[in-house]
Point group: C2
Chain length 227, copies 2
């Protein structure tokens, strides 16, 4: 099996990407980033998902992006919006997060001799983050193919973003087909210590609407009764 | 003064870049990465250089790239070559290091509202690393201008690599002109705890040859008598 690096946050999207990468026959080396997010529930979920979906390895790198500030996800003094998805780039945007995570995936890919990196960015049902757009993914691939020893030696690197054009409902349908247990995943920006979701942040709203649109039961555990 | 982010390793090149950025009138926010390098002398040097050259701020992010392995600089079981600069990419190459460091600089630039990042990469007297080439720098700038909120809002980001076409002797001449005290800097891959250089690794050799070619006294403190 060829090795690949899969960025795994512990949320719905990256769990689906892991299942898709496995289906394509890759030995999946999952990478998570402990970047100072508001809660550890997401990283616990990443470990569960990696185990359940047969990852070849799972590594968690620690990098305190809170030292740089600038996001509701790393600065607890900035409130997470809960009144619905608004136009524009929200305060939950973490500056350069996907650039940083892809860079770390690139480093590991190079050490492993892997030519494939999988990332769960999505440009349809997403929160308006600039680093989730197809042109961003293509620009990172171009960069990667200049940045590494492997590239210099003529081994191209591919960035796979298999969810980029899918709706949340389509992503969920793919995951269901591949047996992903979404009850293991945590998408909420402010999950509680037990991993229960708020149900009201943008990430929860997009996820809930996805399960509804997919006519699929929502296995998420919520703090509040949202029915 | 406009803010800029300056990547500062503590070596000769990045100290010169800081002096050049200051000369251009930027308020320099210096970023160093504690990535698990073999010794702390370089980071101590970065702090001294930031202080001596009037940085507006200096921050050290910690990220253990040794968890990913693959380099003599982060894995003490791989020896640092000392027999002279060879063709090809050496074992001191740290996979994706410049991509990672520029990504972190990009994050901080976005938080600061800075549109300028300075990096001391050099494609003349260098160690053959792929991520020191002009085409790499241009590809990162293209990526940065798709990756951020500022870019979406029409504020372009520039990656400045003012040393890219200079020889080591020319770099030293620039630094001398601007009053850089190279005695504060540490370039050695395996400096001792006191910050003294081995004199024999590729980085020491390029530095020594640079001082000789610039006909400039070499203020480096060496472990051995190299005369």
């Amino acid at each position: 099996m060829k090795p690949a690096v899969v960025l795994l946050s512990g949320g719905l999207d990256s769990a689906t990407v892991l299942a898709l990468a496995r289906e394509q026959g890759f030995a999946c080396h999952c990478l998570s980033l402990d970047y100072g997010q508001r809660h550890g529930a997401e990283l616990n979920a990443a470990a569960r998902v990696a185990g359940a979906l047969g990852a070849a390895a799972h590594r968690v790198l620690k990098l305190d992006l809170g030292q740089l500030g600038g996001s509701a996800l790393t600065d607890s003094s900035i409130a997470v919006p809960t009144s619905g998805v608004q136009p524009g780039i929200p305060v939950t945007y973490v500056p350069a997060r996907n650039t940083i995570m892809l860079s770390l995936a690139l480093a590991w890919a190079e050490v492993l001799g892997a030519q494939d990196i999988f990332v769960g960015v999505n440009a349809v049902d997403y929160s308006g983050y600039p680093d989730c757009r197809p042109e961003f993914v293509r620009a990172f691939e171009a960069l990667a193919n200049l940045a590494t020893k492997a590239a210099v030696e003529g081994k191209p690197l591919r960035i796979h973003a298999p969810l980029i054009d899918l709706s949340k409902a389509q992503i969920i349908a793919q995951g269901r087909r591949l047996g992903v247990d979404y009850g293991l995943t945590v998408s909420c920006y402010q999950a509680d210590a037990d991993g229960r979701a708020c149900g009201l942040c943008d990430s929860c709203r997009l996820r809930r609407e996805g399960f509804a649109a997919a006519a699929s039961p929502d296995p998420t555990r919520y703090c509040l009764d949202l029915t």
